[in-house]
Amino acid sequence: MLLLALAIAAIQLLLARYLPVALYVDLSLVFTLYIGWRSTPVRGAVCGSVLGILQDAVYRTVIGFNGLSKTVLGFFAAYLSQWVSLEGFAFRIAALVILAMLDNGLVGGLQTLIGEPAQESFWAQALARSLLTGVAGELIFRFYDRFKMPPKDFQRL
């Protein structure tokens, strides 16, 4: 997982330098959910924590904003996946979009809490990011499914 996290951070650094618009796709969230949905809630939370903190470092925001939101989403997405099957194409995209909106809302809420209110176009940008993340995330999921992780093993954390 550490190698994956470093690879994602490197990709995001390259994108930030050469193709900033591609940062609209939240790779950290996509991989957090992928690992969480195919693993345990705790692993989803830990993965979200690591990827989120690395994302904060790349985006140069307060360290912990994305870490906290990805921790929450990674944990609860994995927790909910124990009840709901997430194999349908349309369903997965919808779930990715909704969770990406929640992620943006959480980060925006944390910024407001420290006294930095969101910009006027915040929700429009959040919606755009969520839609792109949903579609791109589903494509990444399908690509990664080729190298399927083992079935959920709830004996391991």
């Binding site: 809630p41 705790v42 360290i63 870490g67 809490l113």
Partner: protein
Amino acid sequence: MREIRRRTPFLPFVLLALLHILLISIQVRSPEGRTFLHSAGVLALTPLAASADFVADFAGRLFSRYVFLLRTEEENQRLRAELARLKVENAALEGMRAMLERSRSHDLLRLQFQFDLLPVGIIWKSPPFFANRVIINAGSLAGVRKDAAVITPDGAVGRIFAITPFSSEVELLTNPNAAAGVVMGDSGLQGVAQGSGGGLLQVSFIPNTEAVETGALVYTSGADRIYPKSIPVGRVVRSERGSVYREILVQPAVDFSRVQEVLVVLPERQ
């Protein structure tokens, strides 16, 4: 499925979340100088405190309105008499205000005396020995601003210390970090009233050469630009000569242990 649900460990998640909150708190202070952890704590406490306050208030009103009916008529008569007195006072003050508005000092007086008040309820109080702070059920969404004065009809209470969208923390005058510009009602001497952490206030910067009698009333001076002018602060209970300035202790006009509803001073009305 039920067996799986029972075995989901929440503790690692909670610990991770707390770690992130601490991480953020170390880095960030709000424009008011408060840490993220402090603001998050107030926000987390607000729904619990508001719920508890609602239940207690409901139970109290249930008893006072339906169980102890014998005192209702007496209370009504008292309130009618006070209302009549206040109406007469208000009419006299309106006349004085109209007269002053015609004077040259109208603009200066308008700035000092015209403000809007937002009535709010106290939903949580800190233990008196701990922080001398309370939380009110109004925040930035209601128009509350940092350092806004908080008063009651009896006198000055404190100032807004921290704000969330739905609640605010008020630093009471008795807090050791609190201070207000004051003026002695009879002599016009100006000083600074500071909290001592206990129930009394200390007034400083009154020279030993000036006479301050026990029982003298103390009002806000408006010099700090936080509290409106002429709001009662308290009454002098001790006045002794000090090394340079007089050592004056003031009993606050407001009983902080009993106050349940306060008024937040909003920015000057246009």
